[in-house]
Each structure stands twice: as structure tokens, then as C-alpha cells.
């Protein structure tokens, strides 16, 4: 472990692991009594990674437009760095070229992280079920928390999905 930290090639990954372990220890120490407080903190920091994968990103953009304005709920705020994000919204079709990149992005996000599969293509492949270059759903790549059906889903559906995710986080154990 320590040796890995000082090796130049493995150092970034090892640092991640170390920080994760320290966080786990911290949570174990304060987890039980402060469960609801930690969950409350996680509820309102659902900031998504900016990874547009297909055409559903149009509706994702419309969700932050003045009419729908998701930011009034304190969720889904447009954000730059994936190191500080804990939500990834998979917006539509995942092709075979995109799948390794998607997994790479997911691996770089800090724990805890949540996944919303938006659109029929991200759930089953949708209209492109018989295409040679499209994955039949992203279940094989990422563990999905909430599925949002529709082709594309309306922005209201995305808001509801995020609220369902908040409900789920409330009932989660922190440890």
C-alpha cells in the first residue's frame, strides 16, 4: 500500500484508495448516530457529471431552462469537474465506442455515487435494439439506481426521477 503511494505510476489510484479508506473509517466512527444527518447532506449535493452521450442531452439541457428550472430544487446543477460530482445521468444511447469511456468516468467519481439511466436507449437499447454499435442497456456497465423511460423523457420526468433518487438515499444506510 505505502509502496504504491510512492510509485509514480500507481500513486493517483493509491491516493484515491487511501482517501476512500480514511473516509470509511470516519463514517464508521460517526456513522450510526449521524446517519440521517449524513444522508441529508447527500440529498442536496446531487450534482451531475457533464457527460452527454446522445440526443437525450437536449432534454437534459431543457430541464435547466427557465420553465423547468431544476436548480430550484437544489439538484442537477451544471458543474465542471467530475471529481466533485456524485451523480451521473446517462443521457441516452451508449455505443460500443462510448462504453469504456463511460466506465472510466464512473470509476473516477468519488463514493458515494448514483446513476440515473435516462431514456429508452440507456435502459434497453430502445429504438436501436438491433443496431450493431449500440449496447442493449447500460446494466452491464454501471449499477443503475433509477430508470427514466421515454424517448426522450420529458424534463418533468427527469425531475421526478431525481426526487425518487432522493427518497432512495434517505432510506440508505451510510455505513
Amino acid at each position: 500500500m505505502l509502496k504504491e503511494l510512492f510509485n509514480q505510476d500507481t500513486a493517483p489510484h493509491a491516493t484515491n484508495v487511501l482517501v476512500g479508506k480514511l473516509g470509511e473509517i470516519l463514517i464508521r466512527a460517526v456513522g450510526k448516530p449521524l446517519n440521517s444527518a449524513i444522508n441529508w447532506g447527500r440529498l442536496w449535493s446531487l450534482w451531475p457529471v457533464h457527460l452527454e452521450t446522445a440526443c437525450c442531452s437536449v432534454e437534459f439541457g431543457a430541464a435547466s431552462s427557465p420553465r423547468y428550472d431544476v436548480e430550484r430544487f437544489g439538484i442537477i446543477e451544471a458543474f465542471g469537474s467530475l471529481r466533485q460530482c456524485d451523480l451521473i445521468v446517462v443521457m441516452g444511447t451508449i455505443t460500443r465506442k462510448m462504453a469504456p469511456r463511460l466506465r472510466m468516468v464512473y470509476d473516477q467519481m468519488p463514493d458515494p455515487k448514483y446513476v440515473i439511466a435516462m431514456g429508452a436507449c440507456a435502459i434497453t437499447g430502445g429504438l436501436y435494439f438491433d443496431s450493431y454499435n449500440v449496447l442493449p442497456g447500460i446494466d452491464g456497465v454501471l449499477p443503475v439506481d433509477v430508470y427514466v423511460p421515454g424517448c426522450p423523457p420529458r424534463p418533468e420526468t427527469l425531475i421526478q426521477a431525481t426526487m425518487l433518487l432522493q427518497e432512495k438515499i434517505k432510506r440508505m444506510k451510510t455505513v
Partner: protein, 377 residues
């Protein structure tokens, strides 16, 4: 010159100065594609676009579906411009099957196409605002766009994927008191567009970032085969609505927008000025449209094209959009090739970004009116 360097210190080689930078696919300034950029300090030495992250094989899938089943998946590449990407498909299939379209349907199609062009351009403008860090320019067009989406939702029943244009006409007639509603929205947009001028186009920050960056001369624009607003911003007066009028565009009153500068500012301004022309077209079409009549010629079930081929094109939000369909007496097309404006403008990217500052990359990139999902098909 032979200078003795102290041990352990070497002169900088050229290769060390050049750094390779991956922009995308996870990058706020790239969308669904990757640009492999080599930079020397702050200047871009070379750029190699790497599209294909949304390549879904639409053209192959179209060979397994008949002419009507092909409609829904062919509009998915540009869902915010879905009427315009279906328009040439409908024209091509009509020529292939020898279908006559009712007069009223032609006008309804033109209205739907121009409304969709406004929706597309407003979304594009919103993202351009975000790229340049101008949040107001995201909020205003994104909000005004919803009003036009409401109009098309009333026409077709769906929010963005309308599938409203079908071979033989349009899917259903206009809703009650549509004309009044449409006129109200169009007048509202014209009023708002003038406010965009003040807050965005006369903004000194925008001018500083876009003027004289990424200059494309007229001869180069022709040589590279660019299309749409990129071409017209370089001073070439070419609009398929004027040059090869389809449906009723020859009866309607509008002008093409041409700018001579060829820089990012001109490229960002041409689509904006075209929205005024779109409003003119919609108003004119509403005036000249037959007030009643059929809007759809019914096709036979499972229609078969002859042993023939056809190439039809229209002017979409991103330029010329053509369909090449080969048929061989079967209900399914033998081969469908979609020639999209985004893919044709992709060739500009290495050309324009070379020698540009890295900070100007988003301004040049998005001014090319490039939508990666469409380019990959």
C-alpha cells in the same frame, strides 16, 4: 553554438514543448466527440477530430425497415430539428413512389420546418452562450424555445420528436385557432430577438472573443465543401431554399443572410439573423395557405419503390441535408445514405483550429454549427 551545460540539464527539444490534449468526450466544451489537440504553449499546433461516439448505424438499420417504419429512428439524430431531418426523406420517398402532396400539406410542412429551425437555432444559441460563459444567453433562448415547442406539441402531440412530416404530407391537420397562436408567438420572438442583439451581439466580451478568430475565407469555404451558416458567413450566397426550391418556397417572400467576414462572430450571427427570415416565412405561409383541404395523401400499405434511385436535399438548421435512397422493387430501401451538414462541416475543424489560441477553441468549435449526434448518425 556550443555551450557547455551543467550535468543533468538538457536543452528543451521541440517534441517536449508540444503537449497532446484530449478534449472530450467528458468535457464541457466538446459535446459527444473528442478533439485530439496538440498545443505549443497556448497555441494549437494541430487538431484531429475523433467523432463516432454516437454512431448508431442508422443507415444500416434503414435497410431492414420499410419506408414508413423508417420515420421514427431517422429523426433521432437531431431531435431538436426533427422536422428538417425528415423533410428530405419525405421528398425523396415521394419522388420514388410518385406521390402528389396536397397543396395545404406543403404549406403546413414549411411552417413546421421553419418553427423547428427556430427551435434548433435557439437551442444552439443557448449552448453558445454557455460555451462563452454568458449565462443570460443560456436562459433567454432556452426559455423562449419552450413556447415554440408548445406550438409544435399542439400540432404533432410530441414534445421534441414530432414525426410530423410523413411521406405524402403531414400526419394530421393543424389544431383549432393555430394561426392566431402562431402569429402571437412569432411576433413575440421577433420582439425578443431584438433584445438578444443588445445583450449578446453588442456585448464587448463576445466581440473580443469571437471577432477575428477562426477566419474562413470564401474560397476556402467552397474548397472545403462547407454548408449552411458556415458557408454564408464566408460570403457565399447559397441557400437551397432559394437555389433549388422545394415544396412552396418559391412562392414565399424571404431573403438569404450573407456576411462577408467569415470569423466566429459572423458564423454566430448568421443563424440569428436567419430567425428573422424564418419568422417572415411563417407569417407569409400563414397568409398564403389554403384555409381548408386535405393534408395527407394516403399511401398503400407496404409501398414498394421501383428499380430506381433518388437524391433530395433541403436546407436544415445546419445546412444542406440530403438523402440518397436506392430502391430495388422491395418495400425496404436497398441503401439509404444521409448526407448531413454537420459531417460536412467537420473538415473545417482541423483547418480553423490550427494556429488558434486554446481559449478560443469553444468559440470556434460551436460556431461551426456542429451537432455530433447528427454527424455520427
Amino acid at each position: 553554438m556550443t555551450t557547455q551545460l551543467p550535468p543533468g540539464i538538457e536543452l528543451e527539444k521541440v517534441d517536449d514543448r508540444i503537449m497532446t490534449l484530449n478534449v472530450g468526450p467528458q468535457h464541457p466544451g466538446s459535446g459527444h466527440m473528442r478533439l485530439i489537440i496538440k498545443i505549443d504553449g497556448d497555441y494549437i499546433v494541430s487538431c484531429d477530430p475523433d467523432p463516432g461516439y454516437v454512431h448508431r448505424g442508422e443507415e444500416k438499420m434503414a435497410e431492414y425497415r420499410n419506408y414508413i417504419q423508417n420515420i421514427p429512428h431517422l429523426e433521432r439524430p437531431v431531435i431538436h430539428d426533427s422536422s428538417n431531418i425528415l423533410y428530405p426523406y419525405c421528398l425523396a420517398v415521394e419522388e420514388l413512389l410518385d406521390i402528389e402532396v396536397p397543396e395545404r400539406a406543403k404549406y403546413v410542412r414549411v411552417i413546421a420546418s421553419e418553427l423547428n429551425r427556430c427551435i434548433y437555432t435557439l437551442y444552439w444559441l443557448a449552448i453558445y452562450g454557455i460555451f462563452l460563459g454568458h449565462s443570460t444567453m443560456f436562459m433567454w433562448p432556452a426559455g423562449d424555445r419552450e413556447l415554440f415547442i408548445d406550438l409544435l406539441e399542439a400540432m404533432s402531440g410530441a414534445r421534441v420528436t414530432h414525426a410530423y412530416l410523413v411521406p405524402g404530407g403531414v400526419r394530421n391537420d393543424l389544431p383549432a385557432n393555430f394561426e392566431e397562436r402562431c402569429l402571437r408567438q412569432v411576433n413575440y420572438l421577433e420582439k425578443r430577438l431584438k433584445e438578444y442583439e443588445d445583450i449578446f451581439y453588442q456585448n464587448p466580451l463576445l466581440k473580443a472573443r469571437t471577432e477575428d478568430t477562426g477566419i474562413l475565407s470564401g474560397t476556402d469555404a467552397i474548397r472545403l465543401g462547407t454548408t449552411g451558416s458556415v458557408l454564408r458567413a464566408s460570403g457565399v450566397d447559397f441557400d437551397i431554399r432559394k437555389k433549388e426550391p422545394y415544396d412552396v418556397y418559391e412562392n414565399l417572400d424571404f431573403e438569404t443572410v450573407v456576411m462577408k467576414e467569415g470569423d466566429s462572430y459572423a458564423r454566430s450571427r448568421v443563424p440569428y439573423l436567419e430567425m428573422f427570415e424564418s419568422c417572415r416565412i411563417i407569417k407569409d405561409a400563414l397568409r398564403k395557405m389554403p384555409k381548408s383541404g386535405s393534408v395527407r395523401t394516403k399511401l398503400k400499405p407496404n409501398p414498394k419503390g421501383g428499380n430506381d434511385e433518388v437524391y433530395r436535399r433541403v436546407e436544415s438548421g445546419r445546412g444542406s441535408l440530403g438523402y440518397y435512397i436506392v430502391s430495388n422493387n422491395r418495400p425496404e430501401p436497398y441503401r439509404v445514405k444521409i448526407s448531413v451538414g454537420s459531417f460536412r462541416n467537420l473538415i473545417c475543424m482541423p483547418y480553423l483550429l490550427k494556429g488558434e489560441k486554446l481559449g478560443n477553441m469553444p468559440a470556434v468549435y460551436w460556431s461551426l454549427n456542429y451537432w455530433p449526434v447528427e454527424a455520427d448518425r
